[in-house]
Amino acid sequence: MTPRRRAVSLLAALGALAAIPLVAALVNEPFYLDLFRRIMIFAIAAVSLDIILGYGGMVSLGHAAYLGIGAYAVAIPALHGIHSAWVQWPLAIVLSGLAGLVIGAISLRTSGVYFIMITLAFAQMLYYVGISIEPWGGDDGMRLTRKSQLGGPLDLADPHVFYYVVLALLAVLLLVGDRVIDARFGTVIRAVKSNERRLAAIGLSPFRYKLAAFALAGAVCGLAGALLTNQTEYLTPSYMHWTRSGDIMVMVILGGMGTLGGPVLGAAAFLLLENVLSAWTVHWQAILGPLLVLVVLYARGGLWSLLPGGARRG
């Protein structure tokens, strides 16, 4: 896809999301507002994973760890009476970015299947920490009594305000991402995926760029975690469970990896499918599972490639 077409399709997607509250009001289904806010939050997480997975070729199966760190970065200050989003959200971003830096520094020494396993192991480690620490709710998790306070007219308790705050953050992420992909940093990250040795041969250190991308992806996913606790007003260690990492990865693949719009589309498809199937039968995972196998086997470019002008994965 040419940069111009890509920007146009991203703007179209954002425009469609901006219209959702109107549609929800028209058909008198406030539930859609909630559902699509959730979709956008997971879209932020999925886009962050796609930075390293789709563009950088790093198959991380522990991405939910940052979702959890971001969530705890909101809930723990709230427990101590600090409700300002201007404290909580930067904290979520910085802490999960730092976690990404540490996990990346160790994991990126390995490659292939070892990399998959070690990222998975780090996420499970954090999951067990979350389960074991009783003052922070242990296994049961804890309730967020008050949503993050942005101040002024931006009251997240108002579902519409919250919706547009999430949309604005997603829009910033996508538009900045759209620039970064073609900038020097994005070019190097894509080069890492295609041939690391050649990159080293022209004098660039692949490790430093990979680590930077890994930490950046963690930081962005941390923000998604902060938003997610505000969405559910609850936090449990299960945010970090490895099946959650699997879900986020499925969203990226379903939508189309190596694109910015793909993960957004994938998050929407996954959560809508979950919503429809679970209303139909409690055993919806018995349908989702085989469906997933079929997508992997036969529809490798993801949904994004089915759109007009969509680029196929190479």
Binding site: L53, V59, L61, I106, R109, T110, S111, G112, V113, Y114, I116, M117, I118, L120, A121, F122, Q124, M125, Y128, V129, I131, S132, I133, E134, P135, W242, T243, G246, M249, V250, I253, H283, W284, Q285, A286, L288, G289, P290, L291, L292, V293, V296, L297, R300
Partner: protein, 308 residues
């Protein structure tokens, strides 16, 4: 006396270790030979446990239920290989992770549909119940002792098969150069199916023996799978010897950590702090161990040699 407790916990660690080995052996073989990351291997462990409970109810005989459950999982494993996994061998690891993740969702729900979501109780057969006094004042459950013996016997059997039989020779040859083996006239696809089936049966053996000790419920496979992944990564993916050593190390570290870390910490820091830090640290131990091993040896302790 505390040293009796230490011996008992070490035996428990060994018991957990051999069970990890039974599941790890199949997984590491499948990876080593077919280059397939199979996250759904834990589902076969779960199926083994469920099928044994079901067959025990049907036949009333423990021995018959074991044999039937193993045969049934062998067949299911071969079916899964032929239907779904065969096409994945040539794909990259990402596709394999996703497709087998899908299989996990399917198997967990399938089990929930057939047997329900509530945990089932598997009973220890009466012949294997009771305790045996292995040291003065140390009485150990017979059943756990049997698990240790069966696990070690399987390890020995696997060693003999892999190093001293024609099948083992083909397995090793297939792992090091599949194209060459196929060129020499061996039906490599059939070999893959058979190996996968036997790996599945080993996992089922672990599962059906685990049934009476842990709970039989949907999702029991993944709890263990993650620990098994740690085992094979520490041992070196593709190596049976690595899987055995990794399994016993992980089993020991995990069991001893859970038993003794809290009281040990309580002597250093305050007991209340140890109360929350102890369990957290104990459940992290094997992951820390894995990170440390990978940091110093990115290919695990016994990397399998493969070319082509």
């Amino acid at each position: 006396m505390t040293w009796l407790l230490v011996v008992e916990q070490m035996l428990n660690g060994l018991q957990f270790g051999v069970m990890l080995f039974l599941v790890a052996a199949g997984l590491t073989l499948v990876f080593g030979i077919m280059n397939l990351v199979n996250l759904a291997h834990g589902s076969l462990y779960m199926l083994g446990a469920y099928l044994a409970v079901a067959f025990l109810k049907w036949t009333g005989s423990f021995a018959a239920s074991v044999v039937l459950a193993l045969l049934a999982t062998l067949v299911i494993g071969m079916l899964v290989e032929v239907v779904a996994l065969r096409t994945l061998y040539e794909r990259d690891h990402l596709d394999q992770v996703l497709a087998t993740f899908g299989l996990i969702l399917f198997f967990n729900e399938a089990v929930a549909i057939v047997w329900g979501r509530a945990a089932l109780f598997a009973t220890v057969p009466s012949a294997l119940g009771g305790f045996v006094e292995i040291l003065p004042r140390l009485r150990y459950p017979v059943y756990r002792g049997v698990i240790i013996l069966v696990g070690l016997a399987v390890a020995l059997l696997l060693y003999v098969i892999v190093t001293h039989t024609r099948l083992g020779m083909l397995i090793r040859a297939g792992a090091s150069n599949r194209t060459m083996v196929a060129a020499l006239g061996v039906n490599i696809r059939l070999l893959y199916t058979v190996v996968f089936g036997f790996g599945a049966a080993l996992a089922a053996l672990g599962g059906l023996m685990a049934g009476p000790i842990y709970t039989v419920q949907p999702g029991m496979g993944e709890e263990l799978l993650i620990e098994v992944l740690v085992v094979i990564v520490i041992g070196g993916i593709g190596s049976i010897r690595g899987a055995l050593i990794g399994a016993i190390v992980v089993g020991m570290v995990d069991t001893l950590g859970r038993a003794f870390l809290k009281p040990m910490l309580a002597t250093i820091i305050s007991p209340t702090a140890a109360d929350s830090a102890g369990p957290a640290l104990a459940s992290m131990l094997i992951y820390i161990l894995m990170a440390a091993v990978l940091y110093f040896r990115p290919q695990g302790l016994f990397p399998a040699v493969r070319n082509g």
